[in-house]
């Protein structure tokens, strides 16, 4: 007799598998799930909705064309998508930001930072309870970070600044920046661990 079987996943890996076979409908589903967060990221990094659209379009085109080379070990499909999106957005910033190497005052270097503190539902176009919970947890984790650590991570994440550039920008020793980035990321890993833990049976 058959053993009780595992929960079959309706997850992104399976979608990507379908995308590999040329299934455009699966690409549509992937967009429905993760298009909005990719757009949010691109818009926050470039400050422009129109540019964000171009970038997201490119990112999905890349997923569509390169899905056959996606390796399960590389990470999740959404991580891949967001990495492509962020990479292109940072490229755009470097190309279009006249002050690429003249770093502005810390406060304006990342104008569209994280949404802190946790706000009321507001404009949450994606009403999935799970995504709202993820957002809430990520935002409160960021809120709990010491300001100095969050600032360093913010400049790296939104500005694409290296540790050396951050040190110059904030007028801090490189060692301090390294410590703050390390500690901040470590704290985030701890507070976000519930998003990594195996699900309850």
């Amino acid at each position: 007799m058959a053993e009780p079987h595992l929960e079959p996943p309706e997850d992104d890996y399976v979608l990507l598998g379908r995308i590999r076979t040329g299934d455009a409908a699966a690409l549509g589903v992937l967009y429905d799930r993760h298009g909005p967060v990719a757009y949010t990221l691109a818009k926050a990094l470039t400050g422009s909705g129109a540019t964000a659209e171009e970038i997201v379009c490119d990112a999905f085109a890349h997923v569509w064309q390169s899905s056959a080379t996606f390796d399960v070990q590389r990470g999740s499909p959404v991580a891949w998508l967001l990495t492509i999106t962020r990479s292109r957005a940072l490229d755009w910033r470097r190309k279009h930001n006249r002050q690429t190497h003249l770093l502005e005052k810390a406060a304006s270097a990342a104008p569209d930072g994280w949404a802190l503190p946790v706000s009321s539902p507001g404009d949450a176009p994606d009403r999935s309870a799970e995504k709202m919970e993820t957002r809430r947890l990520v935002q409160s984790s960021l809120d709990e970070l010491p300001e100095a650590q969050r600032r360093v991570i913010e400049l790296a994440y939104f500005g694409g600044l290296t540790q050396t550039e951050i040190a110059a920008e904030l007028d801090q020793p490189l060692g301090t920046v390294k410590t703050r980035m390390r500690s901040g990321m470590s704290k985030l890993r701890d507070s976000l661990r519930f998003l990594f833990a195996p699900p309850e049976p």
């Binding site: 595992l6 590999r20 549509g28 997201v56 085109a61 070990q73 959404v78 890993r189």
Partner: protein, 263 residues
Amino acid sequence: MTGENEQSLAAAYALDVLEESEKAAFEQRLAASPALQQEVRELAGVVELLAYGIETATPPPALRTRILAAAGEERRAPHSAPAAVPPPRARYLPWVAAAAAIILSLGMGLAFWYERADREALETAFQAASADRLVRDARLAAQDSVLAAVLGAGVRTAGLAAPGEAPAARVYLNAERQMLVLAAHSLPPAPPGRTYQLWGLLPQGEAVSLGIFDTQPGTGQSVITFHLPAGVLPGATAVTEEPEGGSSRPTSEPRLSGQFGAN
């Protein structure tokens, strides 16, 4: 335990802001250190989540249309050549989803996964991730056994297909553990009152029932483990559609079948 300097390099690497000049050296250390790989895996997981901390912006509906139109216009040839294997950077995943996802990926029919070397890379990634302190959990034992059955040395595999069609499922036969894992990825659920039944085909021509199963509506997927009766080592397997509850003998031609190749 990685040192503090390495941890800060790992953080920069995960954020994709490690200086170019430091990247090559770091990647060399990464390749040689499972502990450092684990560190990077976890931090990359954090970076992935940071996007969700941003105030959400709604894309215009036209964007979806545009993306699908662009995809529709492209003629994509089915991928045939195996891709180069990137350095293992397995993400930190919920294990039920991970186990089934890996098995279904194995079932997708990519030549990439059939080579023994690649399966070993997957096993290495699995081992490394299992060693993580936050993943140790008694519940993992169930998922571990399925993956172990699939990834063990000497496991034989076969695609199950209808004549002339691409495989709709893949089976993994682990003789040592007397287990067979079926990963169905595009098999529509059986009609009401009917079920699928998996048969092991013995060299003498006899068909032994291994069990009944069904797939998820909407996805056509399932990952199911079957226990092999003692002494039963099929050279091939087949799926037939049977009345609910199964039959003692196949009552129709196989819906899907496949022979185990030499490994």
